[in-house]
Symmetry: C2
DNA sequence: CTCAAAAATGAAAACGATTTTCAATTTCAA
DNA sequence: TTGAAATTGAAAATCGTTTTCATTTTTGAG
């Protein structure tokens, strides 16, 4: 549904953002990525399509895409500056710590736990974050 | 068990680290904290006990404590540079995004899910991370 | 289509957190 | 007690990110 460049650009437009070459290039890079990408990686990839792109615009566009819930930041031991298309609904992430490859898995039953915990501790739950990391089959085969 | 300054210092010693005033000050600050603390906050707190302490030593000590699994980094929307005593066993974190207060809750049943997912996707699971955030009762009462 | 206001851009400078360097100090085992 | 090795704090360097600002691009009204 929201997993194609057209709808991402549409979302930008709906929220009053202009469609620019810089944004198109970043969107095209992020929308189909199955790997977590750092701003610098997005920059390098997107510049192949739009060489005039500035790194600053990558940062700014990623920020906007985050606000619109189209991408999300990925947290890992070695850094928290990579981005992926946002997991939808009750999905969570399984990420390869070597190559950044991501799988999205369903975790509906976890929502109940979160709600229960909120009540138990008197917390007003705002967000939850579940992420599993390890080596994908390919990286696993190559050895560490 | 590992939740007192004595055993943390013992762990440092066992692993060949020397016991210094700087490390004692950082350990004393971290070991009993129920709030996530940034390196700067650790520095400011620990300096009350040992004014000669340098910020650099805080960074270095936190790194060592992380390696020894005595503290862990906390990931939040607004930054990933705060630390807490490490959750033990199958515990996970419930954190107040306003004041950093942390609750540790048990999540044994989640381990089974992680193992199952690893098999399903062919991943060699190395780590998992579950964290819930929101407002603690106190911060919730104060309004946003 | 034209045009002007507003939004967005890229380059450079500024920034803040973290790391490195290094000479001086501290620890600890012999 | 002593000396080698580890550790320290201060300063400088580094890295990712943000801000500033003059210029360019987008878009909607005419």
């Amino acid at each position: 549904m929201s997993s194609n460049a057209y709808s991402w650009l549409e979302q930008l437009q709906i929220h009053g953002y202009r469609l620019t070459e810089a944004r198109r290039a970043v969107v095209e890079t992020m929308v189909g990525s199955s790997r977590a990408l750092t701003p610098l990686e997005v920059y390098e990839t997107a510049r192949r399509r739009y060489p005039a792109l500035g790194l600053v615009s990558v940062y700014r566009t990623l920020e906007v895409l985050s606000e619109l819930h189209l991408v999300q930041r990925v947290h890992q031991e070695d850094g928290c500056n990579a981005y992926l298309p946002r997991a939808e609904g009750h999905q969570h992430l399984l990420i390869c710590e070597r190559c950044g490859r991501a799988e999205y898995f369903q975790g509906d039953d976890l929502e109940a736990l979160f709600i229960q915990l909120g009540q138990q501790y008197g917390y007003q739950i705002r967000a939850h974050w579940l992420q599993i990391s390890g080596l994908c089959p390919k990286c696993s085969a190559q050895g560490l």
